[in-house]
Point group: C3
Chain length 268, copies 3
């Protein structure tokens, strides 16, 4: 009895100018013919593990459960492990380097229940190059798992709590206000914060009301058209996370914040 | 009896750096497993509805008939409707914002015979975000229709002539010559005009002959190699539309024209 | 009896901003419904036939055998032939312009055993434009072949040795050292050479040992972390070809070499 292969999703920082993504597709098509491969994105800032982890966490709930390949791998060829893991919810399999890239997405689906080190998996290509583990380890392991191979047979079992975590700042309700952090920026200068609307109940911050972001007056709005051009706004982004934007401008420039910088938000 | 899903084509201005396109693919793969999704392009200038409408019109005849999703949506979250429509010819279903984006392509296939407002379609994701209707409304509606859902059940019926049109300039044969307009530019500075070769019969313009474009001498040529480098040429582009180019140069720079500018062409 | 279509791979210099790639996908989906299409890459430097030929040669071994479409076509509309060929090994079919683009990949699979000129193939679209043969000739011919059409019926037979070759410099072991050439550069300034590790046996160059590249001291290393930042290294790249790099720098800038420039490498 043959079973249709599971869908594979693929996220990386390889860019689309070179053949890296295409070659990984080819490798997977050879091992799991007929498997659907969905590219989440390949334009992540090079080597930005955290941006990759955040993107994977927010994109995965919209992807069909299957095998989720992610490659942002600044220390390829070094000591970091290559891993595959199974999440507690929805039986999703995540494959990638053990550098924190998979941690937030695994958490989002109830955590890891099984994990293996696939650095020496028998599903690898032979030989394995020093620099292109996406092609030689991660893609073939992902494809083999999509085609029905057993996770626990794909590598050496490791403890779920040995998996590398991603250290992220953490929003806190303090007496002087809600202390949040700039955890991401998009190309428009919008700032992603580390808090969701539903966590605001105790903070006195209310949709439709003025707020203070540090010393800057802002409006807690629904859409850009709720505030005049040039005006700072706090809003819930499309992934239910709070964010800061300037209508037709750049919140990042206005506030002059860098990654992980702290911001205090309170009712105005 | 299950029927194979129809192919889906997808055009947007989302770019490929972020996860927007990938997330829409994921949403469609969940709703219409096995549906083929063909990306027409996602590199349209941001918010350029007309460039999107022109690209959709010229690309669609080369696409298998199916469901054609297009998202260029500068007023997302505002009042514009979300629509799905069926064309008179080839039973193509077009899905997108009702801002003119679908108008030229619908016209190209004989016009609209059925249309629905899908803003509150039961195929939507729940919740619907304020800013990412591609993911929350358009992609799920397109996928449901590809998987066999009925168009008239996907939203509230609207009159075909209530659909927003796209206002375009219109080429006219005048006594002083053929008055055309610059309706698009590509990255090489080639200028797309709003007239086709077959409309030239009464104008005295003949392939292989010299013409005047305003005060500039040009040649009505077949390929770039028909004119010397630096020389202006009028030609039929790969979609049978007339265009202006400078061999190894930029017609846009030479003529100094902007979008919709009028140009008069006559035999030299 | 219907047979599943063969996979198609697609390489071009069309870029992804415009609709060119998407339109070729649409054309192929109409002719070979259900065929898997794998994009190798579309970001090649415009009109760079040799970069395309090198990329095709290195990517193809990782692709499932099938029909391999490649379009880098600076003289489209001119005299060059359009061809389809079958390789001696693995029954791969290559389709593209006869300008050397297919030559290295064909060689890699044992050379050409059958070839046809498809410029006037009955599989072409009608009409054929002057400038977009990817859409009008190459994609439809590739799709027809993937769907099961006979190669020898797809065009006019031509002799395998009439196919245009690609002239490349050739590495030579000379008394003063190994004379190699800079045959490609990537965006990090790494330089691809025209020699593989396995060809070094007689040269005295040994992995782990210091070497001289012209007058520059370098190290024959395995990975970037083997040399300090700013230091030149010789290494085997992910496709088993020798290359030069500077850890966190640009070998191209350091050595000031241009395409095809000669370099002499010898033990230090």
């Amino acid at each position: 009895v043959t079973v249709a292969p599971r869908p594979i999703t693929f996220l990386s920082d390889y860019g689309v100018a070179d053949e890296f993504v295409g070659v990984c597709h080819g490798v997977m098509a050879r091992i799991a013919p007929g498997a659907q491969i969905i590219d989440i994105a390949h334009g992540l800032p090079r080597h930005d593990v955290r941006a990759g982890a955040l993107m994977l966490r927010k994109a995965l709930p919209y992807m069909p459960p299957g095998v989720h390949l992610a490659v942002v791998d600044p220390t390829v060829g070094g000591e970091r492990r290559a891993i595959a893991l199974r999440t507690a919810e929805e039986d999703r399999i995540l494959v990638g380097p053990d550098n924190g890239l998979l941690a937030l997405a695994a958490q989002r689906f109830g955590g890891t229940i099984d994990a293996v080190d696939v650095s020496r998996s028998h599903h690898r290509l032979d030989p394995v190059s020093a620099t292109f583990h996406g092609r030689d380890i991660f893609a073939p392991v992902a494809a083999a798992l999509a085609a029905g191979a057993e996770l626990l047979d794909a590598g050496d079992p490791i403890d779920a709590d040995e998996i590398t975590l991603l250290h992220m700042p953490m929003a806190m309700a303090e007496p002087e206000g809600l202390v949040v952090h700039a955890v991401g920026f998009d190309r428009f200068g919008n700032i992603t914060l580390d808090v969701e609307h539903q966590e605001l109940t105790e903070t006195g911050l209310r949709l439709g009301r003025p707020v203070l972001v540090g010393d800057h007056r802002a409006h807690y709005a629904v859409t850009f058209s709720d505030v005049p051009p040039g005006r700072l706004m706090l809003y819930e982004d499309a992934y239910r996370t709070l964010a800061l934007a300037v209508n037709r401008g750049s919140a990042q420039d206005l506030l002059g914040v860098a990654l992980d910088d702290e911001l205090t938000i309170r009712p105005a």
